[in-house]
């Protein structure tokens, strides 16, 4: 137990901040994922064959390739790609991107592919009559989307989105390979310096269990809130 003391003697404070880092990366990745989903869901539902195949390519590739490989792509390729873009604008120095951004971005792209599928499924299971009725009643586009379609879509999407959240939360453990100090990386460091890997990795498992348990409680509450009218 001494190993978990806060301060210089133990690893308590380090692990606490690492847990906050895991939460921060997961939330950022989830938001980036939503942005990707907002971009690709319309493509997947598009009747245009070309746009449709772009949307399909995104979800198929990301969901068919291991997360670790995607992370390596961005970890090793991220700064190269940004430097290439910068060189077009005449900036030729070395640019290093922050591990937090690389991590959240790569996990975000992965979680975006799952979110896209969830939103597509939710939109498709809204009754067709709702779209038609909204159009017939002559609502403007803002009300049509934000007041009629979106609330119905969210109700259907939230149970599946909480699954996506669980996947995203667990995937963040993989960005420890890039050196970002989240739970896994901190446990690795602590295990290395105290030679007590069994304790620290088990403790990491407990932290993850706590995170998944607590977030499930919150999400269940959200689920009941959004399905009030049913």
């Amino acid at each position: 137990m001494e190993l978990l003391y806060f301060g210089d003697k133990g690893w308590g404070d380090e692990l606490f901040f690492a847990t906050l880092m895991t939460i921060a990366v997961s939330i950022t990745a989830m938001i980036i994922g939503f942005l990707f989903a907002a971009l690709f869901t319309p493509l997947k539902l598009s009747h245009n064959k070309f746009l449709n195949s772009i949307g399909n390519a995104y979800t198929t590739v990301i969901r068919g390739v291991p997360e670790l490989l995607v992370i390596y792509l961005f970890f090793f390729g991220g700064s190269g790609a940004i430097m290439f873009v910068a060189s077009i604008f005449g900036y030729n120095d070395y640019i290093e991107i922050n591990a937090f951004l690389t991590g959240s971005f790569s996990i975000g792209i992965i979680s975006g592919a799952y979110s896209t599928e969830v939103f597509r499924g939710a939109l498709q299971s809204i009754d067709k009559g709702q779209f038609e009725a909204a159009k017939v009643l002559g609502f403007n586009k803002y009300i049509y989307f934000f007041k009629i379609i979106l609330p119905q879509m969210l109700r259907l999407a939230i149970p599946n989105l909480s699954n996506v959240w669980q996947i995203t939360l667990k995937d963040t453990s993989l960005i420890s390979v890039t050196g970002l100090v989240e739970i896994m990386r901190q446990s690795y460091i602590a295990a290395g310096s105290t030679r007590d890997p069994l304790f620290f990795y088990s403790f990491a498992a407990v932290l993850y269990l706590m995170l998944t348990f607590l977030s499930m409680q919150l999400l269940n509450r959200l689920e009941t809130k959004y399905s009030k009218g049913y």
Binding site: K170, L174, L198
Partner: protein, 225 residues
């Protein structure tokens, strides 16, 4: 685009795919037995046994696979007693540690899939079996299991694909599987995009095959929603 690198790395990556496939198939087979065992325990009426099986699946589904591999590979070696038993022969090999972690992980997911499949079997089938005087063991093996397999095919297909992606974590415990070799080539050549296209392509090809085999089986065994 460095096409030469892509062509040169292809045989190396293909070779590493064999390790990926070996890891996948061994852990799926072991995981299926573990999953079936725990699914049966989950349906037990004894509360303690039921809780135990639920706890197992909850822990393995609630923590990242990476943590599980690290506990087994780095953690278990720390227990002095284990080092003296024959288990140490298995646990000092990263290959077997990965297999143990993968099997336990996929076993947890499989047990949930099978449990829900068993629960969707209409009671009428079992009643019909019982009223015909069929012994309960035979009802289980000849009626419940075939129906459960049929019902769980789509979900199990997803689990196989998730596990295929999961095997990439073997590279974190020094195994040179497809992802491990891909990372090695990336870090020596600094050409991530080219290697990603080749390695990702191989993974996508495997996913494609698995997806279609499951689809064929679903059709053959007449999956009903």
């Amino acid at each position: 685009m460095d096409f030469e690198l892509m062509i040169n790395s292809f045989p190396k990556l293909l070779n590493a795919t064999l390790i990926t496939l070996k890891l996948l198939s061994v852990s799926l087979i072991l995981g299926l037995f573990i999953g079936l065992g725990f699914a049966i325990l989950r349906m037990n009426n004894n509360k303690l046994i039921n809780k135990f099986a639920y706890g197992y699946s909850y822990i393995f589904r609630g923590t990242p696979l990476l943590v599980q591999i690290f506990i087994i590979y780095f953690g278990l070696g720390q227990i002095e007693y284990l080092r003296t038993t024959f288990l140490w022969v298995v646990l000092k090999e990263p290959y077997w540690c990965a297999i143990i972690a993968f099997s336990l992980n996929t076993g947890a997911y499989t047990s949930e899939i099978l449990r829900s499949a068993f629960q969707t079997i209409k009671p009428g089938y079992l009643e019909a079996g019982r009223s015909l005087g069929i012994p309960s063991k035979i009802i289980f093996t000849k009626i419940q299991i075939p129906i459960a397999i049929k019902q769980s095919l789509p979900a199990y297909g997803n689990e196989i694909i998730l596990m295929l992606k999961g095997t990439s974590l073997a590279s974190t415990v020094t195994l040179m599987d497809l992802t491990g070799v891909a990372k090695y080539i990336i870090s020596t050549t600094f050409k991530p995009v080219e290697v990603f296209i080749v390695a990702g392509g191989i993974y996508l090809f495997m996913t494609f095959i698995i997806h279609n085999v499951i689809k064929y089986l679903e059709k053959k065994y007449g999956f009903q929603t």
